[in-house]
Symmetry: C2
Subunit: 137 residues, 2 copies
DNA sequence: TATGGACCCTGTAGCCGCCACAGGGTCAAG
DNA sequence: CTTGACCCTGTGGCGGCTACAGGGTCCATA
């Protein structure tokens, strides 16, 4: 019963919706531990890797940086530690997302008014170009 | 009267709120034309460069990519061309911004509910970690 | 006139989060 | 035994800069 089912990188890639190169890259930057190799030097992954990579991908989808994910994974392994830090990381990230949304909305308003001014004439009198230009030359 | 006032890269940088390295980089990637040089091989900028760089910076602030800006600048020089393309670029960019906002808002909702579940206990029962993990192991 | 410090030059390498090769090796099916 | 799908390592690229290192230039001051 010491034999666990293992699978190749391609299988892991498909199962998690990750590109093969990305998995190898996660390994290089220390997010995913280096798996055992087969006799032919192929990476042999197990269930633990699948779980970990799924975690990583889900967190990436939620916009966490690889650094944040590294921290989350570290913490996740210390089962009896308080989860304050996890909460803090998530809150910090939420604030960042809120800032980004606000920035984009401000930008959106500016863009919108820019476009609203276009009279579809010639460049010489294009309001968009004018608005971008420094001073009414 | 053939003498125009020129200035060094540092002056241009300050005037436009751009880093010196960034200006040199814009030159390398062909956004800003290479200026004349002084006898000591210093870049000597004029009013035209100032205008162009201001345009670039303003467009960057509005989130246009350097490629888009390149196109806008090209078009801006053809004074008697219709400004449809300009309008199209701006609209396309607006749509992209809208998509980004929507994505971030969806993400924000997910994050928020994640955080709302945290009971500040131990990692072993942390809802955030659980939510990120693939299956309730 | 010498010197110090502020500026400028080129070139290269790094950031993030991958993606896309090139140039090989491995493995299983037919 | 060949074909073709997979795997390996290593390198370079994307956007949009930023940050050096290792020099040159310029101008004011002592």
């Amino acid at each position: 019963m010491g034999t666990e089912t293992t699978f190749n990188i391609g299988v892991l890639a498909k199962a998690t919706g990750t590109k093969v190169e990305t998995i190898r890259w996660y390994e290089r930057v220390g997010l995913l531990s280096a798996p055992d190799r087969t006799s032919g030097n192929y990476r042999a992954y197990g269930a633990a890797h699948l779980g970990r990579l799924s975690f990583i991908r889900r967190a990436r989808d939620l916009g966490f940086s690889l650094d944040q994910i590294r921290t989350l994974l570290d913490i996740a392994e210390q089962q009896d530690r308080s989860c304050e830090t996890v909460d803090a990381i998530a809150r910090e990230h939420l604030e960042e997302v809120d800032r980004k949304i606000a920035d984009l909305q401000a930008l959106r308003r500016e863009l919108d008014s820019l476009i609203g001014q276009c009279r579809h004439g010639r460049i010489a009198e294009c309001r968009i170009i004018e608005a971008l230009a420094p001073c009414p030359a």
